[in-house]
């Protein structure tokens, strides 16, 4: 067993515990330094795990409890490159946010660093675990850390609302998840994902299995923020301190979707293989709905953090559609997309953070033209927006190319145009905000945008002493550059597809985890994107720029154009906005509705 496997969880946990035990006795900067060191070490080790698992999974049995006669006695980590790379993403984002947050949280001593480190360990544990209950434990650990971090600005009302809504909906999501786990355990007597798959070999999808899978999905989709489980997300991300948003938006949401793939392939793909079409339809449908809703709602925001929160929801939809294609290519494409997108959104949030620090404001309209003094943040906005649009061959392009091709493979030719429309909405909105703030373009007022409390109030009060600009701009630009540049890794698309195919080959995966049979190394299939992804990428980029201009100068369009479609859109838009009421009881009702609808649809299509 590879000794590195437990470290991405153990290092941050031990550092957090150590900081708590000694925090009262150490110097002021110890928490910053220890946090950065631990998060960087986690990133490096997770990257090493990617490199070590290129040919076969690294299976690690905690306590040394290797399975006996195919029965897992303990808890296993099952490391493959697609999972390890997300652990590395989490580590990198936490590192960047620690650098950005240098001296940001002096007021609360070590608490911020401790919670962020435990949060990091929870994310790496969640993504690497091969045991369904262990995933639940880390799911809860993520939630518990975030409750405190989101509510950081206790003196204001909105953060408390955001934290309460987050806590209650995610707890209900965790309950659905645990119900599903209990049902699966009752049927199979197993908690290891691969062993569950082996026991279920040859089973028909009966009521228990369909509902259990539906509940597990619902639980993970609450965390991911898919429609109609997404309401908490915009409230929470809009109020969390920027360094926390970077990680929430950059990686945590996407982990819920990764988990969908991680439970489907080893445990359930055999049961549902005959009805995969129905499941695909449900997941992709939910994904498209989420993508379009997120993009539309993002357009109506003027608070930058809330705007980026809805951008996050829009992209969660794209990823759900990608994972939901239930192909190796779709899974590979989604992971690469998540990776590039995570870095870009992280960079964008940090750019917003720079604005908030400089101008004490995070409102697009009030900041109009005031960003000229922070050209680096403007550069981050421009590059980030173009990267989100999937400008070929940068950033998210490789991932979206794989998803587009995969959609064609399963006959979903209608999917790429819809996903392109969603990324036009999200990227166009980001570019609109960037152009208004940094170039002073567009109108000074736009009554159709939601008015929110000042975001600046939710950040810590003025930081004592000057923070040198590189500490602010450095992390933002570094994240953007990495996000754009990842696409140039040679042979990335082909290799990622090969890694995803290891998920698909359930018998080989089972033999590897439960009996230690190392499969022969496979060669990576070459991936030639063909012309279509470039066309979609070009349409998306041009469309995003055009949509940004539309957002800026909409009110200068000829009155005729404004009146007709504008009138038509106003009613539904107002109703859509009204649904995001900010009231926790509504949200829990929606979660209940979503769980019922999702499970019910699965029951209709899978049986």
């Amino acid at each position: 067993m590879d000794v590195l496997v437990p470290l991405p969880v153990v290092i941050p946990l031990l550092t957090a515990a150590g900081l708590t035990a000694t925090g009262h006795f150490l110097g002021r900067r110890a928490d910053d330094l220890a946090g950065i060191a631990a998060a960087a070490a986690t990133t490096v080790i997770s990257t090493l795990l990617v490199l070590r698992s290129l040919d076969h999974d690294l299976v690690y049995w905690f306590g040394g409890w290797t399975p006996r006669h195919g029965i897992a006695l303990g808890v296993a980590f099952d490391v493959d490159p697609l999972s390890a790379v997300l652990a590395a993403l989490a580590g990198a984002l936490v590192t960047a946010s620690f650098v950005f947050a240098w001296r940001y949280f002096d007021e609360v001593g070590t608490l911020f660093h401790v919670l962020m480190l435990v949060f990091l360990a929870a994310m790496t544990g969640f993504v690497l675990s091969g045991d369904i209950f262990n995933m639940f434990v880390f799911f809860e650990l993520m939630s518990v850390c975030v409750f405190g971090l989101v509510g950081y600005a206790i003196e204001h009302r909105a953060p408390l609302q955001g934290a309460i809504n987050f806590a209650v909906t995610n707890t209900v999501g965790a309950l659905l998840l645990l119900f599903g786990i209990a049902l699966v355990y009752g049927r199979t007597g197993a908690l290891n994902l691969v062993q569950i798959g082996s026991v279920l070999q040859g089973s028909r999808p009966d009521g228990l299995l369909v509902v259990a899978f539906g509940l597990l999905l619902a639980g993970f989709l609450v965390k991911a923020g898919a429609v109609p489980f997404h309401f908490w997300l915009s409230d929470a991300y809009a109020v969390a301190p920027i360094p926390v948003c970077v990680v929430l938006s950059g990686v945590m949401s996407d982990l819920g979707l990764h988990a969908v793939g991680r439970i489907y392939w080893p445990a359930f793909s055999g049961v549902f293989s005959a009805n995969a079409d129905g499941l695909r339809g449900v997941l992709v449908g939910a994904g498209v709905l989420t993508a379009l809703l997120g993009g539309t709602m993002a357009f109506f925001q003027r608070d930058l953090k809330r705007l980026l929160a809805f951008v996050t929801i829009g992209h969660v939809g794209i990823f759900l559609a990608g994972v939901g294609l239930l192909t190796a290519r779709g899974l590979a494409g989604t992971t690469l997309y998540v990776l590039a997108d995570g870095f870009l959104k992280g960079g964008l949030f940090l750019a917003v953070g720079i604005l908030v620090r400089r101008a004490q404001d995070g409102d697009e309209l009030r900041l109009r033209g005031r960003g000229r003094r922070a050209p680096m943040a403007g550069l981050a906005f421009l590059l980030g927006g173009l990267g989100l649009a999937g400008l070929p061959p940068f950033g998210t392009f490789v991932g979206s190319a794989l998803i587009i091709r995969s959609a064609g493979d399963v006959g979903y030719d209608w999917l790429p145009p819809l996903l392109t429309a969603a990324s036009i909405l999200t990227a166009g909105t980001v570019l609109r905000a960037g152009a208004r703030i940094f170039l002073g373009w567009g109108d000074a007022d736009d009554p159709s945008l939601s008015h929110e409390p000042r975001a600046a109030d939710e950040e810590p009060e003025k930081v004592p002493g000057r923070v040198s600009p590189p500490l602010l701009f450095g992390p933002a630009l570094a994240l953007i550059v990495v996000g754009l540049g990842l696409a140039f890794t040679p042979g990335l698309a082909g290799r990622a597809t090969q890694w995803a195919q290891r998920f698909e080959n359930r018998p080989a995966h089972a033999a590897e985890v439960l009996r230690g049979v190392v499969p022969p190394a496979a060669s990576a299939p070459a991936f030639h994107p063909g012309a279509a992804p470039y066309v979609y990428g070009a349409i998306s980029t041009v469309g995003a720029v055009a949509f940004a201009l539309f957002g800026l100068y909409r009110r200068r369009l000829p009155t005729l154009l404004q009146r007709g479609p504008g009138r038509l859109a106003a009613g539904p838009a107002a109703r859509l906005k009204a649904l995001h009421s900010g009231i926790v009881g509504d949200y829990v009702a929606w979660v209940t509705f979503g769980a019922t609808a999702l499970t019910g649809l699965l029951a209709l299509t899978l049986r």
């Binding site: 067993m1 153990v10 946990l13 031990l14 515990a17 708590t20 035990a21 000694t22 009262h24 690690y60 049995w61 905690f62 306590g63 040394g64 409890w65 006996r68 029965i71 897992a72 006695l73 303990g74 808890v75 608490l111 919670l115 435990v118 949060f119 929870a122 209950f133 262990n134 434990v137 809860e140 650990l141 518990v144 850390c145 405190g148 509510g151 206790i154 934290a163 049902l183 355990y185 009752g186 007597g189 197993a190 908690l191 009966d206 009521g207 228990l208 509902v211 539906g214 009231i583 009881g585 509504d586 829990v588 009702a589 209940t592 509705f593 769980a595 019922t596 499970t599 019910g600 029951a603």
Partner: protein, 243 residues
Amino acid sequence: MTRQTRIGLFAVSAAGLAALLLWAVAGLPDFGHYRGPYGKVLNSVAVGERHATNVVAAVTFDYRGFDTLGEEFILFASVMGVALLLRHERGERERLTTRIHSDAVRLGGAGFAAGLLALGLYVVAHGYLTPGGGFQGGVVLASAFALVYLAGDYRSYRALAPIPAIDFAEGAGAGGYAVVGVVSLLLGSAFLHNFGPLGTTGTLASAGSIPFLNIASALEVSAAFLLLFTEFLEELAVTPGDG
């Protein structure tokens, strides 16, 4: 969404969800006829392999000890979160009320607290033999301290349980659990591999490194609940100030 709409949406959804759940549980084995292999195997091998008579403790601290590491840190993180959320702003001043209680109340409370303390220690110590263990015992221990508050006053409570000391115990407990795992790594085996001598079944000196994990979690849990009680009780002693 009005309240009526919300309740209507919920009623319809919950009825549907309940129906689906009932459909699902009908597929479970009949109550009392569970045959799952996992628990059965553990029941038959755990006592022999681990010399711990409480198989639940063997599962929590050994076979699935890694879950418990996560659980320790859930508690740890939540207490840190509560400390973050209930931190006091500048301008809030402490209202140091000294409650007047009769000596009888104090004496009785102290006696009761001492009894709870002994009970907590017993529950902790015998966790891997009989029901109980670090978690349950830890909560009892913390309750014993909280009783000092109820019987006495906030000041003597704070003197008994100063925050830096509890923080230290909290970090040491949670970290200690992970350190036991790291010791296994340093010994060349898997993280959290049970390395101690297994000893004689049914005595306190049995079950290898389980007792260490048990003590670490007792420390963590009692510190965590103590901090939790302190944070909430402190709210009682503080009034919002002018600034």
